[in-house]
Amino acid sequence: MRLTWPMTRRRFLFTTGTGAVVAGVLGFLGATVRYLFPNVLYEPASRFPAGHPGDFPAGEPSFLPDRRLFVFNSSAGFYAISSVCTHLGCNVRFVAGEGFACPCHGSRFDLNGQVVSGPAPRPLAWFGLSLSPRGELVVDERRTVDPDYRFKV
């Protein structure tokens, strides 16, 4: 099909119709893709209150097993490190004074979650913290931060 000028009335009508239908079909495809993205998730919230700052003992990590997260209450402030090994997703264990060790394939991380040895490709994830209006420590898993992050209450 070739567009030539001046168009006949028939050709103009047909072109208009075809263009509109093609645009409509593209819209339909776009809508379909949008439809596939869920707007609400039936899974634990990625931003959640972990507890009151006073609940976390100073100097040692508190492990939240259902959130797979270590919360540290250091003298410089709070920080939260994910316990999900960046290799294949096992839970790493805290080794006092050394860092973290993954039981699955032997990856080792230092106290800041940086890879020391083993197959893990990336350091452990650090999550941003904030304070809720009720004074609870809120972890936001969508916001990753650098290992020098400390949250002062």
Binding site: M1, V21, A31, T32, R34, Y35, L36, F37, P38, N39, V40
Partner: protein, 420 residues
């Protein structure tokens, strides 16, 4: 050879491997396009102008097919957010309504298309009857069509339960209890349908599988057979002055029409326009563009109407299903309300005898009324009696359905719809 030209050639060869003919410019190309495409070859390359007249077919078969397509596409989309367990099913409906982008429009489309399809298939059946199109050689296709009509009802019926609200629960309760009136088999039938004695999670799962897998698969198969017969037998048309069909044809061993084969033969002579070389088809027109264009327009019109309806009217969703609380009146889906009205008079006669006789009559119609007269014309005078009988039966069915829908209130007592 320059690279650009080689690439263009290569791309062209890839394109040609998919679209054998390309955009056709001549009738020969158009015919070849029709024949070489899986999707287009469902049509013959040439059709009788008679069959293009909207006043003859009313496009009802086509509409039914489109609606079926719409239902399959929207249905698959809905399945992505649907969980077939009681509470989750209801929650899915709420999610589609409130949080899934375009979810409500999709659900509305599915719901309204399903209702319209029941009507379209019924009207299609009426059209075929009143034009005598079920006569030789199309007897069996009528039988397939009756099967498709029942399948449409059953598809709609099984889908009715899936939202798991009060409306669905009690409509299905009434519907399955009507099934249990069938002699000997009734109770087993109900037990099998429900997967138990009461409607529960097992029932929901069964209806889900029936609605999404088993019945659509059967329907697709039957639609294929139905179309294949239409394609082979051609569209019914007024008898032309030609010799009476030979015995082979009458018994269906031979296709009455061999139009496509004739056309293939003609493609060997590409230089001449088709119309002039086929004396058999001198008044026929090319399916591309005449038929395809009309089909596309009908599809567009249907989509526009369906969307408008779906944007303006939301599919009903009542409270979560509660087996302890029967609404009054509890009504079956509307297309079974004629039946429910009959059952109201007599469970056995209304629920079993009459439907069985009606279905048997429908199935046997082409074999009981086998005289090949009055084909291809609306209300042919030769078929006055057949048309009268069918017309009265169809009217009674419509009347009963209307009564059940609008004139029955609390305790199935007679009410005038305008008294609120």
């Amino acid at each position: 050879m320059p690279d650009a030209a080689r690439l263009r050639l290569w791309l062209r060869s890839v394109g040609r491997s998919v679209f054998r003919v390309g955009w056709p410019r001549t009738d020969k190309d158009r015919a070849a396009a029709m024949i070489s495409s899986f999707f287009l070859h469902i049509h013959s390359a040439k059709v009788q102008p008679h069959s293009l007249r909207p006043s003859y077919t009313l496009g009802l078969g086509l509409l039914s097919f489109y609606l079926f397509g719409v239902l399959i596409i929207t249905g698959i989309a809905l399945m992505l957010y649907y969980i077939p367990t009681p509470l989750a099913a209801y929650r899915s409906m709420k999610d589609l309504q409130f949080v899934v982008t375009f979810g409500m429009v999709l659900r509305n489309m599915h719901r309204w298309a399903a209702h319209v399809m029941v009507i379209a298939v019924f009207l299609h059946m009426c059209r075929v009857f009143f034009t005598g199109a079920y006569k030789i050689p199309r007897q069996f296709n009528w039988v397939v069509g009756v099967g498709l009509f029942l399948l449409t009802l059953f598809l709609s019926f099984t889908g009715y339960l899936l939202p798991w609200d009060q409306l669905s629960l009690w409509a299905i309760t009434v519907g399955t209890n009507m099934a249990s009136y069938a002699p000997w088999l009734g109770d087993y039938l109900k037990y099998l349908l429900l997967g138990g004695n009461v409607i529960g999670p097992a029932t929901l799962l069964r209806f889900y599988v029936l609605h999404c897998v088993i019945l659509p698969a059967i329907a697709v198969g039957l639609v294929g057979v139905h179309f294949f017969r239409v394609r082979k037998d051609g569209l019914s048309a007024p008898a032309r002055p030609e010799p009476a069909p030979v015995e082979e044809e009458r018994s269906g061993r031979f296709p009455a029409s061999t139009r496509s084969y004739g056309l293939m033969a003609l493609t060997d002579r590409p230089a001449l326009p088709v119309e002039e070389t086929d004396p058999e088809a001198e008044d026929e027109v090319m399916a591309w563009p005449h038929l395809l264009y009309r089909e596309l327009i009908v599809l567009l019109a249907l989509l526009v109407v369906l969307h408008v309806v779906s944007l303006l009217f939301d599919a009903p969703l009542e409270e979560l299903a509660d087996p302890t609380r029967t609404p009054n009146p509890a009504k079956a889906p509307w297309y079974f309300l004629g039946l429910q009205e009959l059952v109201h008079y007599s469970a056995f006669i209304g629920g079993v005898l009459v439907p069985t006789i009606v279905v048997l009559l429908l199935l046997l119609t082409p074999y009981l009324d086998s005289a090949p007269r009055g084909v291809g014309v609306w209300f042919a005078p030769e078929r006055r009696w057949a048309n009268w009988i069918f017309g009265v039966l169809a009217s009674v069915a419509i009347l009963l359905t209307l009564i059940g829908t609008y004139f029955r209130g609390t305790n199935w007592a007679w009410v005038w719809p305008w008294t609120g």
